[in-house]
Symmetry: C2
Subunit: 377 residues, 2 copies
């Protein structure tokens, strides 16, 4: 089997991730930091260290504002819903994932918060002028996905962040697809809210996301036990506890810790390899008749294409049947960018590469696609 759906979940995890999860299960099956006995305190310290590592890696400078969530979706919901300004307006882009789009739709219906989706220029970039045109007097927030999970196209968050900061708006970046692949410095990019998936480019198990908060107040989405102010039936709003009600998912957090460590220590090697394989794949696919490639060179290992007008699901099925290659078809939960590209019906076939893929696997995929394009085209 050749697994090329790593943008969904990285399949091969570093051994240290499994080791750390086993350690969590066999030694640290406790409520981290909530008990007074050493094991609970030690587990709490592991969580603190992981916050510190994430804060350092993303240039946040404040481990207490590293919030663990169950997924990037949850981090996105917390970021958007926790900073709502009733009657306000948000500018986002057509690249956004349904976790942003559906949340915007929901708060529009429930709280009258309107939104505008900005389209990219002909190079695929979100132009700050377009954001400026979309800003209204009641705009309070700008949201841009960092790297598209459909095409891999990456926005210049530093340029956009600088622009957003000048307008005194909140800047949220969805880094689900880019975290681990591209360096992100929250402070330098003037990002107020950064949302991260653990199980993609950071090689954590499924079940962990992170919200980084910088210089903005985020109100809790969930209420419950925090281990703090227990006598009060009003939810505390301090970070991190107030935003992390319930028992922390220590196995997933320890898995993330190991994954982050792997990425941190091998950042150059990992991402040079992914970028190289991505370029190679794009170059080769661009030569195949009947194949249309929607991705340009990118650092996140995402390459999407179609063959003629054949449904993407059919291509994906054939790739598995003929060569046991696992890819994703359809809309990848990001309908607006498909609408923009005219692929809402057909979808795209998405190949996505991790540091554990080999050039041989990419060559196999190219061969398989060539054969299919010849047969079906």
């Amino acid at each position: 089997m050749i697994y090329l759906d790593n943008a969904s979940t990285t399949h091969t995890k570093p051994k240290s991730v499994t080791t750390n999860v086993i350690k969590a299960l066999t030694k640290y099956s406790v409520n981290a930091g909530r008990g007074g006995y050493p094991l609970s305190i030690q587990a709490g310290n592991i969580v603190l260290d992981t916050r510190q590592d994430l804060s350092d890696f993303f240039g946040l400078g404040n481990p207490n504002n590293v919030i663990f969530t169950s997924s990037c979706t949850m981090a996105i919901n917390l970021a958007i819903r926790g900073t709502m300004q009733k009657g306000g307006h948000i500018v986002a882009t057509v690249f956004e994932h349904n976790s942003v789009l559906r949340t915007l739709d929901d708060i529009k219906t429930k709280f009258g918060i309107d939104y505008t989706l900005v389209e990219p220029n002909k190079h695929g970039d979100i132009d700050v002028n377009e954001i400026e045109n979309a800003i209204k007097p009641n705009t309070y927030m700008v949201i841009t996905i960092h790297a598209s999970n459909v095409t891999g196209h990456t926005q210049d968050i530093y340029k956009i962040g600088n622009f957003v900061a000048k307008h005194n708006l909140i800047y949220m970046v969805d880094a689900a697809q880019s975290a681990g692949h591209i360096g992100i410095d929250v402070q330098a990019a003037h990002i107020n809210l950064l949302t991260i998936a653990g199980h993609k480019g950071l090689y954590a198990p499924q079940g962990i996301g992170v919200l980084l908060i910088n210089n903005v107040k985020v109100l809790p989405l969930l209420t419950g036990g925090t281990g703090t102010h227990s006598a009060s039936t009003t939810q505390p709003t301090d970070t991190p506890e107030g935003l992390e009600s319930g028992t922390l998912a220590l196995p997933a957090i320890m898995g993330l810790s190991a994954g982050l460590n792997y990425v941190n220590h091998n950042f150059g090697t990992i991402n040079k390899k992914i970028a190289y394989l991505t370029r190679y794949l794009i170059d080769e696919l661009n030569k195949v008749p009947n194949v249309k490639v929607y991705s340009k060179y990118n650092d996140v290992g995402v390459v999407s294409f179609i063959i003629d007008n054949i449904p993407s699901s059919e291509i994906a099925d054939q790739l598995f049947e003929t060569h046991r290659i696992c890819v994703r078809s359809g809309l990848q939960c990001a309908p607006q960018i498909h609408k923009y590209h005219g692929t809402l019906q057909q979808g795209m076939v998405r190949i996505s590469i991790s540091s554990f893929n080999t050039k041989q696997e990419i060559i196999m995929a190219i061969t398989a696609i060539k054969e299919l394009a010849k047969k079906l085209g």
Copy 2:
């Protein structure tokens, strides 16, 4: 080390739990059910099987209404917030955990939904007459914790459920502390919303909770990718997908599957042992001068006490320092029941037992408490 804080998180997990989590990490690191390739479909089927097992175990009769959440806290938030009736009223009890109390407080502030907390009778039971007295014309829901996480006292959910059903109200039961210990039949008890923690009596890793939905519409709390209706930027509300946005936490779900299986196949043995050790501990502690025991015989392994007027945290610290015994002190995130018992300042020392504890460990704990009571009392 003697770990007696299992009501917080069961420390020793069955080997099958670790095995299953490792399998999830090494084989099923995929987005379960979202890809068209066999590995994703297989992972999806594992999730479906786990839903079926939970549905069977709790007498729900509908695996599609088994909703996976990141914690029982999240399940409680989803249950309460997803069924809100603006301007309505909820009846709950002083036994509730902060995950219920703080959620009630929050929806009171935000949506004008009022609530009344019912106190128990002298036996510790919530009397249906007291619930009846608390019901107002705008009451739409009754919430009772099943087993108190502070005293272990267990309510008769069948009697209460029958009463609530006759009044055509929604009945929610927080089974965080009882699931795995006491048989619960959702249909027979007329429960509409049952919330479960994975990492306690079901021996799952931290990071998984469950909401069982029976004959009531629950609206999503989180919005995002569901793998269904992807072209729509409006959140679907079908179960289970509409209530489970984001990538499923497969390692935790597979851990829960193994834990549930362990409990299911050893239910009698496990809980006979826990009930016996609980009775033994209560009987022995009741003989110790200066010790006041707040727990009566119960099936969930919870025994709480104080020594004179000594702060519970001091007792807990001493138990670890002198005998390396891990217990929980303070309020256990349930302030109202402490207020009821007059222990809001002092807190209680809580011992909680799992199936992996031995009689020898309980004897050690009794010895340690006797010594402390003599020294400090």
